[in-house]
């Protein structure tokens, strides 16, 4: 996993609430068996049907920070939503509310999701719309977001932050506790089902 500490990049304003994962990446793209190359599926419905959709506007090409409306990532648990955002080039998504599963997936998958008050989101929207070259900094070291006239702290637990900064993978961390897992398994009730 790629390490993240301080990321600075241009931002895309996505003025929509309740953007579900079916919009982020439609189901047809989930049938691939690979784990990369999902950038073509990102917002495919909107990109395909609406020439005015933000990601179709040339002034936002190459942006790496997505500033989204509330309840971003609702719906299906597909992790492809995170992969598509990351493969497209986004390193961070800012919103005033994320769906739980999406948030969990993103923090595990090295896409930094940052919770900000809605006023700050609105301010960033206005700013980026007025000047698409505006740069936004997401600083994991100091846990704050910065842009011209904006300096806003965000919360992220120490453990997740450490993992993201180290680029560490969960499985390796858990395998350090193999004895504890084996102990737990010994205590399993005898009537509980097995599949074989």
């Amino acid at each position: 996993m790629e390490k993240i500490d301080v990321h600075t990049g241009r931002a895309v304003p996505l003025r929509a609430s309740n953007v579900d994962t079916d919009q982020i990446i439609p189901a047809v793209y989930l049938k691939r068996v690979s784990r990369t190359g999902f950038e073509d599926g990102l917002f495919a419905g909107w990109r395909g049907s609406d020439p005015d959709f933000v990601l179709n506007r040339p002034e936002h090409s190459g942006a790496s920070v997505l500033v989204a409306g509330p309840d971003f990532g609702t719906g299906s648990s597909r992790e492809h939503a995170v992969w598509a955002l990351r493969d497209y080039g986004f390193r961070a998504v800012l919103s005033s509310r994320f769906a739980d599963i999406f948030r969990g997936n993103s923090l595990k998958g090295g896409l930094l999701t940052v919770l900000l008050p809605q006023e700050v989101v609105e301010k960033l929207w206005d700013m980026v719309e007025a000047d698409p070259t505006t740069e936004v900094t997401v600083d994991l070291v100091n846990r704050e977001v910065r842009a011209p006239g904006v300096q806003e702290a965000f919360e992220l637990d120490d453990y997740t932050r450490w993992r993201l900064m180290e680029g560490l993978d969960d499985i390796a961390l858990t395998l350090g506790h193999t004895e504890g897992i084996a102990g737990f398994e010994q205590a399993r009730q005898r009537w509980l089902p097995v599949t074989q």
């Binding site: 929509a16 989930l30 719906g75 597909r78 599963i101 997936n105 858990t174 398994e185 009537w191 097995v194």
Partner: protein, 418 residues
């Protein structure tokens, strides 16, 4: 892989629901299914492939086999894993990397969830179902209302539900934003589990029941949030928009976006109505559909098929309407055929398919065409969920059946006058 003996796989999302013997036409789906088969054989995981009697939607198959039991922790790479919470199991959907993590370690590092009690008092009126309960809950708390919570559904109306109906309620917890939904195990639960292929046998069953009885929430427990509903006030519910929280009673009309005070909700309503091609003020009952889909892990169980068949028996699917009836599993199909339900659907002019997720999502050949409108017993009415440009109204099996007959969103009561 740590515990193949605690793992099961089935083919559901992208399989066709007819011509099972023909190779899967879509090369990407075919590759995915082939990859699953190879992986299961390489790692010794039990798989129910297309054509197998136990094949079907994973959330129908687990309970049916008796693999879902009270007190268990169950995860699956699908958000509707919350269905299994109907048994008093902690069951939730996980992402692909978490699936990897579970396969490798049989554990998952997690932060504790918050708790929410959704109490449904009273008694459901005839024609009103579990689906209407959960759609009303979602409309009340919103699609983000359950975020961070595990919901416990309780109260007299919940206790009187069958296991199938409890699964419908828990299934859609995720549509309220909650990670999981649970119902305390009781006699209804024990009776459902008893005798199933993987249920505990003899003294083990008694010992298990003793333990299961202890799994109830303590008297006077405090929840982080509480919601109360009265079942007597509920009526058949239907969605008008593009998220499951955008619903109204079937008796009502398409809402006017300007009636929403919250600007975000207003904008969302405007966008939804444009996508759904609905004018504010149109009575929901006057909305006509092209397709009716009865199936999915929300409403593809035997009881759902029975209820719908009851309504459709001796009637015909309206001209110009296509009705797809897709059993949740091949076992459900077998049982439905034994009970003569399959014939009832076919005689009415519906298509009686093989098991799978089918038109619940546009990932297999069963899809809506752009602009087509469906009444669907599934769980998501997102833009394009049932096929690009498709328009979905979520409904109960009763409403689906009545709608198929009238060709317009309807409740069974509307058929009496036909």
């Amino acid at each position: 892989m740590r515990r193949p003996d605690l793992t099961i796989a089935t083919e559901d999302h992208n399989v066709p629901t007819q011509d099972l013997l023909a190779p899967i036409a879509d090369p990407v789906s075919r590759k995915q299914v082939e990859t699953l088969r190879k992986n299961c054989s390489d790692f010794g995981v039990r798989l129910h492939p297309m054509g197998d009697i136990e094949q079907g939607v994973v959330h129908v198959v687990g309970p049916q086999l008796g693999l879902t039991q009270p007190g268990m922790t169950i995860v699956c790479g699908d958000s509707h894993t919350s269905t299994h919470g109907a048994f008093g199991a902690l069951a939730f959907g996980i992402g692909t990397s978490q699936v990897e993590h579970v396969l490798a370690t049989q554990t998952l590092p997690m932060a504790p969830f918050k708790t929410m009690a959704v109490t449904v008092n009273g008694t459901l009126r005839p024609g009103v179902s579990a689906k209407d309960i959960i759609l009303a809950v979602i409309a009340k708390i919103g699609t983000g209302g359950g975020q961070g919570y595990v919901i416990e559904y309780r109260g007299a109306a919940i206790e009187s539900l069958s296991m199938e109906a409890r699964m419908t309620v828990c299934n859609m917890s995720i549509e309220a934003g909650a990670r999981a939904g649970m119902i305390a195990p009781d006699q209804t639960t024990f009776d459902y589990v008893r005798g199933r292929a993987h249920a505990p046998k003899d003294e083990d069953f008694d010992a298990a029941v003793e333990h299961w009885k202890s799994l109830r929430t303590d008297e006077g427990a405090v929840f982080d949030a509480e919601v109360v509903l009265d079942a007597d006030e509920l009526s058949p519910f239907v969605t008008w928009g593009t998220n499951p929280g955008q619903g109204v009673p079937l008796d009502a009309s398409v809402p006017d976006p300007t009636s929403f005070e919250d600007p975000t909700a207003r904008a969302a309503a405007e966008k939804a109505l444009a996508y759904m091609d609905l004018a504010p003020g149109t009575p929901m009952r006057q909305v006509s559909v092209d397709t009716v889909f009865l199936g999915s892990c929300t409403n593809g169980r035997i009881e759902d098929l029975r209820t719908a068949a009851e309504i459709i028996r001796g009637r015909k699917v309206a001209d110009g309407v296509r009705m797809l009836v897709v059993p949740g599993s091949m076992r459900v199909k077998e049982q439905a055929n034994q009970e003569g339900l399959g014939r009832i659907f076919e005689e009415a002019g519906a298509e009686w398919r093989e098991a799978g997720c089918s038109m619940c999502l546009g990932m297999n050949p069963d899809q809506l065409q752009p602009g087509e409108r469906s009444a669907s017993t599934s769980n998501r009415n997102f833009e394009g969920r049932q096929g690009r440009g498709g328009r979905t109204h979520l409904v109960s099996p009763q409403v689906a059946a009545a709608t198929a007959v009238r060709g317009m969103l309807s409740s069974p009561a509307d058929l009496v006058s036909l």
